[in-house]
Amino acid sequence: MNKKEFVCIACPNSCKLTVWEEGGEIHVDGHGCKRGIDHGKNEYTNPMRMLTTTVAIEGGHHRRLSVSSTGEIPKNMISQCLDVLYAVKLVAPVKRGDVIAADICGTGVDIVASRTMKHV
């Protein structure tokens, strides 16, 4: 039985969750509401996160362009995705929403520009 502890962030109440697997089922304790159960189960089985970072750009006001994932990606794939993004080099202009990396690392999620950068 592998017990894990999480602080629930479904609301500001910050319940301290204990999550464990027993008899093929996942159990959550310490939650104050139903959202805590869902949060605890997700964190235990497959934690997902949004990814925001920057990529290199030339020809704009700045040397970095901020990018964002269009959905959540598995937490354990973040560093793999970063390796892909840190190899990217763009040239301005770029418009917000332009796809920088489609279906990054097979996650089904795109990485898009989160701002517009004009050519200067």
């Binding site: 602080v7 962030i9 500001p12 109440n13 700045h62 970095r64 964002s68 917000r96 989160s114 701002r115």
Partner: protein, 418 residues
């Protein structure tokens, strides 16, 4: 000197200023100007690449610059004029702005109303009496954010963060993702300064330790920082002898609070509130100087940009009403006040024009965390509304709409949970 005339000038092109300018134009002001000292609009949002913005306003999670882009795109489709790379030097009580830039030189801009939207500044090393030399490598969290997210520099390899405000937590994650080692976050107070969700997603996710009741007692290194001594604090915030520990680092990040940027406001004699450190405002977000309004973090440090935009829109409506002669303000105007009680620390706006029956948007913070608290609003001993708050804490600003008769002070009491 170049002379210009505008209906409304907005000082600052961040989220507050953008929302204010757009709203002022919608309300019928014909000549609207935004003055911004950076080379682009968006303000501090341009370096906030993390997500979590816009939940209230757009119903989705956006990054800071995505949120800014929504407003920039909207503004660029209007005839609102923008002066970039332009520094405002002075605002007079007669609503004349003196500003300068490389292209136009000195400018005198006369306006019918002025909206202050300069935002806030970070507290620096000298404001927290950091002991030791003044080596390179001691930076505020916002500076580190700008270096990494916009300019493409890594300001160090091994970082220590002092202060657990939200920007510090966000930067702990950013630095880690950029391959830096974050040795720990040290917080003087016994409870974190930032939101729990940021502690979970920025520290816990990357196993970055948070040390409460601990401070940086000394900075080591002459030319460049070599390390810091951290030490535990007792309940009187005095160093507990024997708890000192040396930590090697080449960057100390300060995330020790924000202060509204009111140099211009003070320059024209605007009355400030010592609790918010921003101007004392009425229900139209007008300052003590008639025709000068304030919104966003120059008014009070908000923590949600959605509220910042909202405050910009309130100020813009006020500014247009003033321009059209519907508001006067100043010495001839009588006010009733919004009065914090119980666990409420402060309220913005601080006053309501007497006799104005209105719905007023109040922004407040509590003094200490509590559960199952009840917000009770009353006038003249009569409770006018109540609201339940399952959880309150100082880092979470509370916003609510309150109906006021304008005839008596509005007492806002956050009653302790049972």
């Amino acid at each position: 000197m170049k002379k210009m005339n505008f209906d409304i000038a907005v000082i600052g092109g961040g989220p507050a200023g953008l929302a204010a300018a757009i709203q002022a134009r919608k309300e019928g002001a014909e000549k609207v100007l935004v003055i911004e000292r950076d080379v682009e609009l968006g303000g501090i949002l341009q370096q906030c690449i993390h997500d979590g913005f816009g939940l209230h306003r757009f119903g989705k999670r956006m990054s800071g610059n995505e949120y800014a882009q929504e407003f920039i795109d909207e503004l660029e489709n209007t005839d609102i004029e923008v002066l970039l790379d332009t520094m405002v030097l002075e605002v007079t009580r007669d609503k004349v702005i003196y500003a300068c830039n490389n292209k136009d030189g000195m400018m005198e801009i006369a306006c019918k109303a002025v909206i202050l939207a300069m935002g806030c500044r970070e507290r620096t090393a000298s404001q927290i009496q950091l002991m030791g030399y003044r080596p390179a490598g001691v930076l505020t969290a916002g500076s580190v954010q700008r270096y990494i997210n916009m300019e493409g520099y890594l300001p160090g390899k091994k970082a220590v963060i002092l202060g657990s405000g939200d920007i510090g937590l966000i930067m702990a994650r950013r630095m880690t993702l950029e391959g830096m080692e974050v040795k720990g976050v040290y917080e003087v107070m016994p409870s974190p300064g930032g939101l729990t969700r940021n502690i979970v997603q920025c520290l816990d996710d990357y196993d970055i330790p948070l040390h409460l009741s601990t401070t940086v007692a000394k900075v080591h290194g002459k030319k460049r920082i070599e390390g810091v001594t951290v030490a535990k604090l007792d309940e009187n915030r005095q160093i507990i002898p024997g708890t000192e520990e040396y930590i090697e680092c080449d960057l100390l990040v300060l995330a020790v609070g924000l202060i509204p940027e009111n140099e211009l406001s003070v320059g024209c004699g605007i009355e400030l509130d010592e609790r918010t450190r921003g101007p004392v405002l009425d229900n139209h977000f007008m300052t003590s100087v008639p025709g000068i309004f304030a919104c966003g973090n120059v008014a009070v440090v908000f923590d949600l940009v959605d509220y910042v935009s909202q405050s910009g829109e309130i100020a813009a409506k006020g500014a247009v009403a003033y321009m059209n002669g519907k508001l006067t303000g100043g010495e001839g105007t009588e006010y009733v006040h919004t009065v914090p009680a119980g666990n409420v620390n402060f309220i913005v706006p601080q006053k309501i024009v007497k006799g104005e029956e209105c719905e007023v948007q109040l922004y407040m913070r509590v003094k200490h965390p509590d559960k199952k608290a009840v917000l009770e609003v009353s006038e003249d001993g009569q409770v006018t509304q109540t609201g339940r708050h399952p959880f309150v804490a100082p880092p979470e600003m509370i916003s609510c709409t309150v109906k006021a008769t304008g005839n008596a002070d509005v007492i806002v009491d956050m009653k302790e949970g049972k």
